[in-house]
Amino acid sequence: MNFTDQASSSTNGLPPRRVPLFSPGRVATIASGTVTQLVRMKTFYFLLAFAVVVVAVGDLNLPATPAQELSTIKKVSFGTMDLFAWLFAIVATALLIPRDQEDRTLYTILSKPVRRIEYLLGKLVGVLVVVAVSLVTMYLICALMLGARERLFVEAEREAMSADTRFSPDEIEAQLDLIRVQGLRPELGIAVLASFLKAAVVAVVTIFLSTFASSSLFSIIISILVFLVGHFHAMASSFWLHQSDNSMLVQMLVKVVKILIPDYSLFSFSEGIVLGEPVIYALVWQMALLTLAYLVVFLLLSLLVFVDKEF
């Protein structure tokens, strides 16, 4: 199926209307269609599962200090958020193109003056919108639980320490700060952004894989494998090299894997933020730029495969 820069001549004798090379409007239309498609698949139901996880962890009543309990709630919530985000990005993206093919929607779309890059970009934006909405909702659920528990712990600790005359107001505040640092802080929003950046890279890589995949199942399995290897290679390379006494063959293999597979472990920087480490915004910007580079390059790669594909 080939497209020219002009729409097919109209039948009423009017000169053919020029089709712009790229139209954000068309991308937005495909994106909104993708969002609707994903919402109809009842994808938001997993938010219910997330809420159950958060409430269960918040209700565990571990024999731990308030700060430790808040830290556990935070780690489990953000870990689950991260897991849902990348898993959703893989499954949703892998389902979209093959499903459009099965439903024949793809033919209808591509028979219109829609460029293939617009189609791919629209699909990606749609998935990213759903991932972003899900992440924000999950964050709000987590923030609600975390904020409520933090308030409860701070009040209880203040009451207990104020009743004891041994503690000065400064000591009480220092103790309360230990709890607050593990509680709800604005920096946690950056941890959500980190999960989003990871999900965005996962989604664009899955789009690339699904352009030459024969089925959704294949795309999902390969994407999950690529994700695991992408997390694994940075860690495993030093281990392999150590085990094999820096053998030439292993070194080459590690280099090839590093070049071809994205390094997903780099996008796990939400772990430090969740633990209470201060955020360095310059690094967050650099990670956002790296994500953008991944999006551009992998969309281009997807286009290279998709542009000549005959349906």
Binding site: L60, L62, P63, A64, T65, A67, Q68, S71, T72, K75, V76, G79, T80, D82, L83, W86, D170, E171, A174, L178, K198, F227, L228, H231, F232, A234, M235, A236, S238, F239, H242, Q243, K258, I259, L260, D263, Y264, S265, L266, S268, F269, E271, G272, I273, L275, E277, P278, V279, I280, L283, Q286, M287, L290, A293, V297, L300, L301, L304, V305, D308
Partner: protein, 290 residues
Amino acid sequence: MKAFFQRIPRTVLVIALLAVFGLVRGPVEDGLRERLVGANLLFPPPASGALEQMRQSALMGTLGGLRTLVASYFTLVTFEYFSTKSWDDLRGGYEIITALEPRDETHWVSVVWHLGINATANMEVDERLPAFERDRRFKEYAFEAIAFAERGIEQLPESAAIRVQLAEVYREKLKDDCAVSRVYGDIIGLPGAPAYARRFHGYFMARCPGKEKEAYAYLMALYREGEKQHLPTLIKEIKNLEEKLGIPGPQRIPDADPDRPRKTPKRPPNLLPGEILIPFNQRELQLLRR
């Protein structure tokens, strides 16, 4: 040019572009990783030793980017080991947890507390084991707690909380006053150090054989800081050292020994506890009748 590109098979073009992007992003990502690890936002990969120790589930979780989730799962599992007093399993669990999240101070504090305080306390009372075995395991758990604390301090050199827990093991379980003093000395000046660390450093130094003179000078310096430092334990320790070192009377501190029994007003022999008066004479009888 266009014709040239059209003649190249797409697969070759895709692989070439992928390789070029991989070569360009490699150094950028290496630099970013270094800075993220330096800023403690990203955990460094577990050491090869830790990878060998990990069970399959932990290893898979780590590889799949689920480090925090796997660590949280193992934290819950270790609470179970704590409640069933399975100390060896608990130690194994914390080996994995600390390998997964070496920058989380609470894991190090917890493992030192579990092994150094709880496991040793259990060995003091566990009647199912012969006395010799209990004593052997008591020492084993205490020294393992110390080893964990040292590893934690290596990872988090600024941590006061790990050192406080370590000092507790030396104080409560090993009764090593010199070591307690040394650890509290290390805590002074660290961020989040408790206010009592300076005093405790001196108190335990005073009980450390051979350190009496140094301890006396240190505690006197604290005493001279003012009224707010004149706490009963400080005064008691200075008084003990004055006796031990034979400090001449005029140089001794004027405060009364806080442990010396205070004079209580003499109670009349006919006044029973509960303020019940047994009249001994006519006047007391009249008072009672009134």
